[in-house]
C-alpha cells in the first residue's frame, strides 16, 4: 500500500536527478534539492514568494506557507501536503502550477525523503530573517506628546495644525453661525435645525460664540435623536437588516429589538467597551437583544440550501464567515475573512487564527430566541403576573377537565392526565398535514422532550402514506422549520395521516406539543403563504400493556365538551385570552441569534468544510496574544465572554483606535485611517497617526477632557470643540492645490448628506415628522409568498412619516425613492457609504409621490404663517428648508414660479437643491 513501493528503478530519470537503490538513504543536497530547484524555486524562492511559501526556508518548506497547512509531515509521505500537491489530478490545483507534472520517479524520491524523516542539512537556511518593522495598528497605543503649537485651541488642533503647517496650510476662518448649526445638527442628530433654532442660535452666537456653541453641542448630544443618527452608522458597518437576504429574503421577526438597543446605547452613552461586550455576550449581561449584532449579516435558510450534506456544511461555514466579517469589520478593523482559505496575504492573520475565531462563535446559529433581560427589568414583573394567571387556569383545568388544548399560534399544546406507556400515536383529521416537530413531555421532567430521536424514540408512519420528501424521522429530529414530516399527497380513501412513537422504555407522559413550522413562527412574519399554528384536529392514543390503542385526547371530543359545559367554555376562553396576552405582552422571540452546542473547530483547507485539517481552540489572533485559555470543550457563553474581555482590554491595540477613527470619519467624512474597517497593511495608512493614537488614548482614559472612560459622547464632544470642526467649508486655492480632499482639514470638507438626512429633513420641514423613538419598523412592502420578492406598496403614506431609521430595512430591496442615494443593500459590510450622483436620484426626488406630496405640505406650512402674502410665504419657505432668507435674485425667481404655478413648485425646487442636500 505504501507509495514507496511505487519506486520503479527501471525508470529512466532525467539528467541531474539521482537514481537510488531501495537501500540507499536520501541525501537532501544530492537527491531533493535538484528537484526543488527544477520545479519549485522559481515561484517559491528568493525571486518570487507565491503563497508566502519558499522551498529554501526550513520554516515554510516543512511548516507551510500561506495555506496554513504544514507542507511536510516527517515520516508520513501520504499525509504530507507536498505530495498531495504534486500528485493532484486537477491541474488547476496541481503543483508546479501550469507546468508539467513532476515525474513519478522524482515524486518517489520526495516520498522517500519524507519517509526517512525529511532531514535537512545543518547549514540549510534555519529561519527567515526577523524583520524590524511591525504594522502600526497592531502595536499598543502609546499616548503621544501633544505638540506645542501656537493658537491651537486644544490638543486635536495642535496635532492637526502641526501637520498643516508642514504643508504650508492653515485653517479656514470660522464658519458662520447658520452653517455651523446646520452642520452640527445634521451630524449629531441626522436632522437639520428648524428655522427657529437657526435664528435663536445665530443671535446667541453673535453675543458669545463660545458659550452659544458649547450649549448647542450639549443640547445636541442630549437629543434623543443623537442615538438614532449614530445607530445608523453602526448598522451600516455590520450590514444589519431585517431580512435574511437570499431567495426568500424572509423578514426577521423582531430583529428591530437590536436596532433599538443600539439607539439606546448611543443615547445613554453606554461605555464603548460595555457596548462591545454586550453585543458579543449580552445574554450573560442582561442585554440579550444586543447579540443581534452577531447575526446581523445575511444568511441562507435551510430550505434554500438543499439537502445535500456537503451543501449544508458549506452553508454553515458561510454563516460563520458572515459572523467573521461582522466582528472583524466593526470591532477589530481587520479583514478577518481574507484568512478563510489561506493565511491572510497581508496581515498577520493566519488561517488558524480565522478558524480559532470561528470557534468562539460555534455556539451561535442564525435564528431567534427570547432575549435575556436583566433581573430588575420592569418587563419581567409584568410578565410574571401573567404567568401566574396562566398557571392558575391550568390548575383549574387539570381538576375540572383533565384534558385541554392551548393554541400558542406557532404550536399547539395538549395536556392530559399522566399515563405510562411505551408507544404513542397521533392521527390527524386533516389530509394535508405537514408537521415539523412533535414533542411529548412527562411530569417528571417537564422540559425533556421524550419523543426526540435523541432520546432513542423512533417515529414511524404507515407504509401506505410514507412520503420520501418528508419521512417521519423529520418529526422528532429536533430540526424545526421546513424540514417536516408529511404523508403522500394522494391519501388512500378512509386513511388519516398518523405517526407512531416508540419510546425506548415506558415513559410517564402528560403533555404534547405539535407544530407545522415552529421556526417560522419564531423567526419571521409578513408571509401570506404561511399561517402559523398546526392542525387543530387530531386524536392522541397510547398503547396499553395488552397492546391495544387507547384514546387519550381527541380534539373533537374536547370541542364537544366545551360546547356542552359552560364553565369549561369560560375557562377555555380565559385560557386563550391569557395566552394571547402573554404572546403580546410577555417576552417575544427576536432574531438575535440562537444558541446551539458548539462543535469542534478545524482549519478548513482552502476554506472547504469538506477538507478539515488540524483542530483549533477558540481564541483571538495569535499575533495579538489571543490565547484565551479555551479549548474545544469550553462552553459557548464562556467563549464569547472571554473574547469580549480580550477585545476590550484597555491596551488592545485595535479596539479604541478603530472606534475613535470611526467617530472621526463620520464627523469629517474621511477617517484618519480612510478605510475604517481595514487597519491592516492594505488599508489606508493614517494621515495623522499621532492624532489617532492620542484620540484612542483619551477615549480609553480621558485625562484632558475629564469625561468617563470609553465615553463616545465625550469623544465626540472633544472633536466638536476643535477649531478644525468649527471652521468654514469655503474652498481656498492653496488648500485645493495641496490637499484637494481636505484630508488634513484646511477646511471643513463639505459633502452630500445621506438618504436619511434628505428624507427626514423633508418630513421635518413639512411638520409631518413623527419624532417618536424606536419600536416596530414601519412597513412599505406587501405581505408576500415565501419565494416572492418584496413589493413596495406604500412608501409615502402617513404611516411612513417616521425617521427613515425605522423604515423596515430589507436586504437588496429598492424602496423606489431613497435607496438610490447610496443606501447600502446590506449585503456587504459598509464602513463608509460611497457618495455617488445619479439621474435616478434626481428622478426620485423630483417625481416620487413622497416628494410631490411633501413639497405641497411644506408650501402649505409656509403659507400658514404669512397671511396670504406671497413674498412672506416664499421667505418662510427658504427659512424652513434652508434656514435662511432668499437673496433678491432668488426671491424674484421664486416668486415668479410661485405666482404662475404655486408655491409648492418652489418647495419642490428647494428640496432638490444642492444647498438642501449638502452638509455646509
Amino acid at each position: 500500500m505504501t507509495t514507496l513501493s511505487k519506486i520503479t528503478l527501471s525508470l529512466i530519470l532525467p539528467l541531474g536527478i539521482s537514481q537510488l537503490g531501495a537501500e540507499d538513504t536520501i541525501d537532501f543536497r544530492r537527491d531533493i534539492e535538484p528537484i526543488l530547484e527544477k520545479h519549485c524555486i522559481a515561484c517559491h524562492g528568493p525571486d518570487e514568494v507565491e503563497s508566502d511559501f519558499r522551498v529554501d526556508r526550513k520554516a515554510t518548506l516543512i511548516g507551510g506557507g500561506g495555506s496554513g497547512i504544514e507542507t511536510v509531515l516527517p515520516g508520513d509521505p501520504i499525509g504530507s501536503y507536498l505530495i498531495e500537491l504534486v500528485r493532484e489530478p486537477d491541474e488547476e490545483y496541481r503543483m508546479p502550477y501550469e507546468e508539467d507534472a513532476v515525474p513519478e520517479a522524482e515524486i518517489a524520491l520526495l516520498e522517500k525523503w519524507i519517509q526517512e524523516g525529511a532531514k535537512l542539512p545543518d547549514d540549510f537556511e534555519e529561519e527567515a530573517e526577523l524583520g524590524t518593522v511591525d504594522h502600526w495598528s497592531l502595536i499598543a497605543v502609546e499616548r503621544p506628546e501633544v505638540p506645542k503649537v501656537k493658537d491651537a485651541a486644544n490638543p486635536i488642533d495642535a496635532f492637526l495644525l502641526e501637520k498643516l503647517d508642514e504643508k504650508g496650510l492653515a485653517y479656514n476662518p470660522a464658519a458662520d453661525a447658520r452653517s455651523l448649526i446646520r452642520r452640527t445638527s445634521i451630524l449629531m442628530t441626522g436632522l437639520p435645525p428648524s428655522a427657529e433654532q437657526v435664528e435663536t442660535f445665530s443671535k446667541a452666537y453673535a453675543r458669545n460664540e463660545d458659550r452659544a456653541y458649547t450649549r448647542l453641542v450639549d443640547e445636541l448630544l442630549e437629543s434623543p435623536h443623537f442615538g438614532e443618527r449614530w445607530a445608523q452608522h453602526w448598522l451600516d458597518v455590520i450590514r444589519w437588516a431585517e431580512t435574511n437576504g437570499s431567495e426568500a429574503n424572509l423578514y426577521r421577526k423582531n430583529a428591530w429589538f437590536y436596532r433599538d438597543y443600539v439607539v439606546n446605547a448611543f443615547n445613554e452613552d453606554k461605555p464603548y467597551d460595555q457596548f462591545v461586550r454586550e453585543q458579543l455576550a449580552g445574554d450573560q449581561l442582561g442585554a440579550g437583544e444586543a447579540t443581534g449584532f452577531i447575526v446581523a449579516g445575511p444568511h441562507v435558510p435551510a430550505a434554500t440550501v438543499g439537502r445535500e450534506p456537503s451543501a449544508i456544511r458549506q452553508a454553515r461555514a458561510d454563516r460563520m464567515d458572515e459572523i467573521m466579517q461582522t466582528v472583524g469589520a466593526s470591532m477589530m478593523g481587520m479583514t478577518v475573512s481574507c484568512a478563510r482559505c489561506h493565511n491572510h496575504k497581508f496581515d498577520p492573520i493566519s488561517i488558524k487564527d480565522y478558524y480559532s475565531l470561528t470557534a468562539l462563535f460555534q455556539g451561535i446559529e442564525f435564528g431567534s430566541r427570547f432575549p435575556e433581560i436583566a433581573e430588575d427589568d420592569p418587563a419581567r414583573r409584568d410578565y410574571s403576573q401573567l404567568d401566574g394567571d396562566l398557571e392558575a387556569i391550568r390548575s383549574t383545568l387539570t381538576k375540572e377537565a383533565g384534558v385541554w388544548q392551548e393554541d400558542w399560534h406557532g404550536w399547539n399544546d395538549v395536556y392530559f392526565p399522566p399515563i405510562k406507556t411505551s408507544k404513542a400515536r397521533i392521527t390527524f383529521k386533516t389530509k394535508n398535514v405537514r408537521i415539523d416537530e412533535l414533542d411529548i413531555y412527562g411530569p417528571e421532567h417537564p422540559e425533556l422532550n421524550l419523543a426526540a430521536s435523541k432520546q432513542g424514540t423512533v417515529a414511524t408512519t404507515p407504509k401506505a402514506i410514507f412520503n420520501n420528501l418528508g419521512p417521519p424521522s423529520n418529526i422528532n429530529d429536533g430540526i424545526k422549520g421546513t424540514m417536516n414530516w408529511r404523508p403522500i399527497k394522494e391519501m388512500p380513501e378512509g386513511v388519516w395521516p398518523s405517526v407512531s412513537f416508540e419510546f425506548p422504555k415506558p415513559q410517564l407522559i402528560n403533555h404534547l406539543k405539535v407544530s407545522s413550522n415552529r421556526q417560522y413562527f419564531f423567526e419571521t412574519e409578513y408571509l401570506t403563504s404561511y399561517s402559523p399554528g398546526s392542525p387543530k384536529k387530531f386524536v392522541f392514543e397510547v398503547m396499553n400493556e395488552s397492546g391495544a390503542w387507547v384514546e387519550i385526547a381527541s380534539t373533537e371530543d374536547l370541542d364537544q365538551q366545551i360546547k356542552e359545559n359552560e364553565s369549561l367554555a369560560v375557562h377555555h376562553e380565559n385560557l386563550q385570552a391569557t395566552i394571547d396576552a402573554v404572546l403580546e405582552q410577555g417576552p417575544q422571540p427576536s432574531f438575535v441569534g440562537q444558541f446551539i452546542d458548539p462543535v469542534t473547530s478545524y482549519v478548513f483547507h482552502r476554506g472547504s468544510p469538506e477538507n478539515p485539517k488540524q483542530e483549533v481552540a477558540p481564541a483571538g489572533f495569535d499575533s495579538l496574544e489571543g490565547d484565551l485559555g479555551l479549548d474545544s470543550s469550553s462552553p459557548d457563553p464562556q467563549r464569547r465572554m472571554k473574547f469580549a474581555e480580550w477585545l476590550t482590554e484597555p491596551d488592545h491595540p485595535l479596539t479604541a483606535r478603530v472606534m475613535a477613527n470611526r467617530v472621526w470619519s463620520h464627523i469629517f467624512g474621511t477617517g484618519i485611517v480612510a478605510t475604517p474597517s481595514d487597519f491592516g497593511t492594505v488599508g489606508a495608512p493614517p494621515t495623522n497617526q499621532v492624532l489617532l493614537d492620542w484620540l484612542a488614548a483619551e477615549f480609553v482614559e480621558p485625562t484632558v477632557t475629564g469625561g468617563e472612560s470609553w465615553s463616545v459622547k465625550n469623544l465626540i464632544r472633544t472633536i466638536l470643540m476643535t477649531d478644525a470642526f468649527r471652521q468654514s467649508s469655503a474652498p481656498r486655492e492653496d488648500g485645493l492645490a495641496e490637499d484637494g480632499s481636505a484630508l488634513y482639514l484646511w477646511r471643513f470638507p463639505p459633502r452630500r448628506v445621506e438618504a436619511e438626512v434628505i428624507r427626514d429633513g423633508i418630513l421635518q420641514a413639512s411638520g409631518k415628522l413623527d419624532p417618536r423613538l424606536g419600536g416596530k419598523s414601519f412597513r412599505i412592502h406587501n405581505e408576500k409568498k415565501t419565494y416572492a420578492q418584496w413589493q413596495v406598496v406604500d412608501n409615502h403614506g402617513p404611516h411612513s412619516w417616521r425617521r427613515m431609521l425605522y423604515q423596515e430595512r430589507m436586504r437588496r430591496v429598492d424602496d423606489q425613492i431613497f435607496t438610490a442615494f447610496d443606501f447600502p443593500d446590506c449585503g456587504q459590510v459598509r464602513s463608509k457609504r460611497p457618495v455617488s450622483t445619479t439621474p435616478l436620484q434626481a428622478l426620485n426626488l423630483m417625481n416620487s409621490p413622497f416628494a410631490m406630496e411633501q413639497a405641497g405640505f411644506i408650501a402649505e406650512r409656509a403659507k400658514q404663517t404669512s397671511n396670504d402674502d406671497d413674498v412672506a410665504a416664499t421667505k418662510e419657505l427658504f427659512n424652513i428648508l434652508l434656514g435662511r432668507e432668499p437673496n433678491a435674485d432668488e426671491l424674484e425667481a421664486s416668486l415668479e414660479v410661485a405666482r404662475n404655478g404655486g408655491l409648492e413648485l418652489v418647495s419642490r425646487s428647494l428640496i432638490n437643491s444642492n444647498e438642501f442636500a449638502f452638509l455646509p
Binding site: 526577523l130 437570499s246 441562507v300 495579538l624 429598492d814 447610496d822 435616478l840 425667481a893 414660479v897 437643491s913
Partner: protein
C-alpha cells in the same frame, strides 16, 4: 520603550517579517484621495489594477477598454431556474440507451432529495445548420442559428441553489452584495449613449429573478453603475412626470432649481460634487425623453412584431417578445450592457415562473421554451441583420444544468451544478463552435471543465477587459468579478 517588536508575540513577528517586502508607506503624502492613499497596490494583489478615469460630472462618459476588441456592447440573456442542457443543446445518446436504468454511480440524494432513474431527453435531437450541431426540438427557432453560436458545454458552478447560483453567474460570488457583471462593465467602460442609462436590466414580465436586484446591482461600486430596471411595459420608477403637474410647471421647477444651484455653486467654485449633481438633473431630464422614446416599440413595423412574436402565443410570450424588441432598440442606441431576463422568482404567476422543473419537466420546460425561443431567436437574428452583432457580444446563460436522471417523483430533473451549457454569439467569438464536453450522461463536465470564473473572465476579455486588473478596493481587498480565480477560455475567441 521603542522596540515595537516587544509588543507583539513571536508568532506575530514571524508573520510580519515575511511581509517586509511590502514596505511601509510613508506618511508624507501630498494631496490625497482614498484611491491615492491606497495607491501602493502595485504588485500587492498580483497585477496592478487599471482604474477607469471617471468624470464626476458624467460617470457614463465612454472610456477605453484595456485592449482593443470588436465588442463594444454586451447583451446577456439570462434564463433563471436552470435550463436542462440534456434536453436542449447537449446531446447525450447514452441517456436514450440507459433510459429507465439506475447506474450505481448516481448519488442517492441531490438538491431536492432522493434520486430516480436515468431519463432520455424529453425532446428529440436533430442535426442543425451547416455544422450539423445536435439541438432538440424544444428550441426550434434558436436551433436554426447554431452556425453562429459558440457553445460551452462544460460549465460548472459552486452551488445547486438558485439564488446563490444566480449570484455566482451574475456577480462572481455566491454571497450577496457584490457588483454585477453589468456594473463592472459600465464602471470600466462608461457608455456610448449618455442620454440612456449605461446598463439596463430588462426584467421578466413576471417580476425579478430570485436574487432580485443583486443580479444587476452595483454592490460596493458607486450607485451610478447599477442596472436601471425597466421593461417594455414598466418605465423606471418616478421617470414619468407626476400626474397633475403640467409640463410648464415641471419646467419652471427645473429652471428654478438650476438657478438656485448655480448661485450656490458660486460659493464653491469648481466643486465637482456640486457640479455632478447639477449634471445629474440634466441627465434625468434627458432620460425622461429618451426612455419613453426607446420604450415606444409600437412604432416598430408589423413585420418586426411578427418576427419576434408579440402577437402570437401566450401572454407571457407576447410580453417577453416586446422586451426582446426593447433589448434590440437599446443595443441599437449604444447602451453598454443590456441584461434580459427570461423568468422570475417562483411566485411570478401562471404556474410557471422560470425554467425550474422539479416536476413535470415535459410541461414546464415546454411552456418556458414557448416564451423564450422565438423572440430570442428573432432578437439575435435582428441584431445580425442590422450588423449589430459585429460590435455586440450576446450571451445566453443560466445558473446551472439539470440532472440526467429524474427525481424520486419520476417526472422532473433536479439541479446539476457539475455540468451545464451556455452559448455566446456576436463580436469576438467563434461561430459554429462548441467548447468542452460533459460526460456521456451530461452528469459532470468531462473535457475542458469551465468554471463560472473562467466564463466571466472570458466575457470580460471579450469586452476588452483584463479580469485580473479590473478591480475595486473594498474592505481590505481589491475585489474582482472573478475573485482570485478564472482563466480566459482562449479557444472560444474568434
Amino acid at each position: 520603550m521603542n522596540n515595537p517588536e516587544e509588543k507583539i508575540s513571536f508568532h506575530g513577528r514571524r508573520l510580519l517579517s515575511r511581509r517586509n517586502f511590502l514596505g511601509q508607506a510613508g506618511l508624507s503624502l501630498g494631496a490625497l484621495s482614498l484611491s491615492q492613499l491606497l495607491a501602493k497596490d502595485e504588485g500587492m494583489f498580483g497585477k496592478a489594477p487599471i482604474r477607469p478615469d471617471i468624470d464626476p460630472n458624467n460617470p457614463y462618459t465612454p472610456r477605453g477598454a484595456h485592449f482593443d476588441v470588436p465588442a463594444k456592447q454586451v447583451l446577456v440573456i439570462y434564463c433563471p431556474g436552470a435550463v436542462s442542457h440534456v434536453d436542449t443543446f447537449d446531446y447525450k445518446p447514452a441517456l436514450i440507451k440507459m433510459h429507465g436504468q439506475k447506474p450505481p454511480n448516481i448519488p442517492a440524494v441531490t438538491f431536492e432529495g432522493p434520486t430516480g432513474n436515468i431519463a432520455k431527453p424529453f425532446w428529440d435531437f436533430k442535426p442543425r445548420g451547416q455544422t450539423g450541431k445536435m439541438v432538440s426540438d424544444l428550441l426550434p427557432n434558436l436551433a436554426e442559428q447554431v452556425d453562429d453560436f459558440c457553445f460551452i458545454h462544460s460549465l460548472t458552478t459552486q452551488t445547486s441553489a438558485h439564488p446563490q447560483g444566480e449570484n455566482f453567474m451574475n456577480t462572481g460570488f455566491t454571497m450577496e452584495g457584490f457588483p454585477s457583471f453589468g456594473a463592472w462593465c459600465t464602471y470600466a467602460l462608461g457608455s456610448e449613449n449618455e442620454e440612456l442609462p449605461a446598463f439596463v436590466a430588462i426584467n421578466d414580465p413576471r417580476g425579478l429573478a430570485r436574487s432580485g436586484k443583486n443580479n444587476f446591482g452595483n454592490g460596493f461600486l458607486p450607485a451610478a453603475f447599477q442596472g436601471t430596471d425597466f421593461n417594455a411595459k414598466n418605465p423606471p420608477s418616478n421617470l414619468v412626470r407626476p400626474e397633475g403637474l403640467s409640463a410648464s410647471d415641471d419646467k419652471s421647477t427645473v429652471d428654478l432649481l438650476q438657478r438656485l444651484n448655480a448661485g450656490h455653486l458660486e460659493q464653491f467654485p469648481g466643486d465637482a460634487d456640486l457640479a455632478a449633481r447639477i449634471a445629474s438633473y440634466e441627465l434625468a431630464g434627458k432620460m425622461q425623453t429618451s426612455i419613453p422614446e426607446i420604450m415606444g416599440i409600437e412604432n416598430e413595423p408589423g413585420s418586426i412584431h411578427k418576427e419576434y412574436g408579440t402577437d402570437q402565443g401566450s401572454d407571457l410570450k407576447r410580453e417577453y417578445a416586446k422586451n426582446c424588441i426593447l433589448a434590440r432598440r437599446l443595443v441599437e442606441k449604444g447602451v453598454r450592457v443590456v441584461q434580459l431576463f427570461n423568468g422570475s422568482d417562483p411566485s411570478g404567476g401562471n404556474g410557471i415562473t422560470n425554467w425550474d422543473s422539479h416536476a413535470n419537466i415535459a410541461d414546464t420546460h415546454a411552456m418556458q421554451a414557448e416564451i423564450m425561443d422565438q423572440p430570442t431567436a428573432a432578437l439575435i437574428n435582428d441584431l445580425k441583420r442590422r450588423g449589430l452583432l459585429d460590435q455586440t457580444l450576446v450571451v445566453w446563460c443560466t445558473e446551472f444544468g439539470r440532472m440526467p436522471f429524474l427525481q424520486g417523483n419520476g417526472t422532473g430533473r433536479d439541479h446539476n451544478p457539475d455540468a451545464f451549457t451556455c452559448f455566446m454569439t456576436g463580436a469576438g467569438v467563434k461561430k459554429g463552435f462548441s467548447y468542452g464536453e460533459s460526460d456521456e450522461f451530461g452528469f459532470k463536465a468531462a473535457v475542458n471543465p469551465t468554471t463560472v470564473y473562467d466564463f466571466n473572465a472570458t466575457l470580460l476579455h471579450l469586452m476588452g477587459l483584463d479580469h485580473e486588473r479590473l478591480s475595486f478596493y473594498h474592505n481590505g481587498i481589491e475585489r474582482r468579478l472573478t475573485n482570485v480565480h478564472g482563466h480566459v477560455v482562449k479557444d472560444v475567441l474568434a
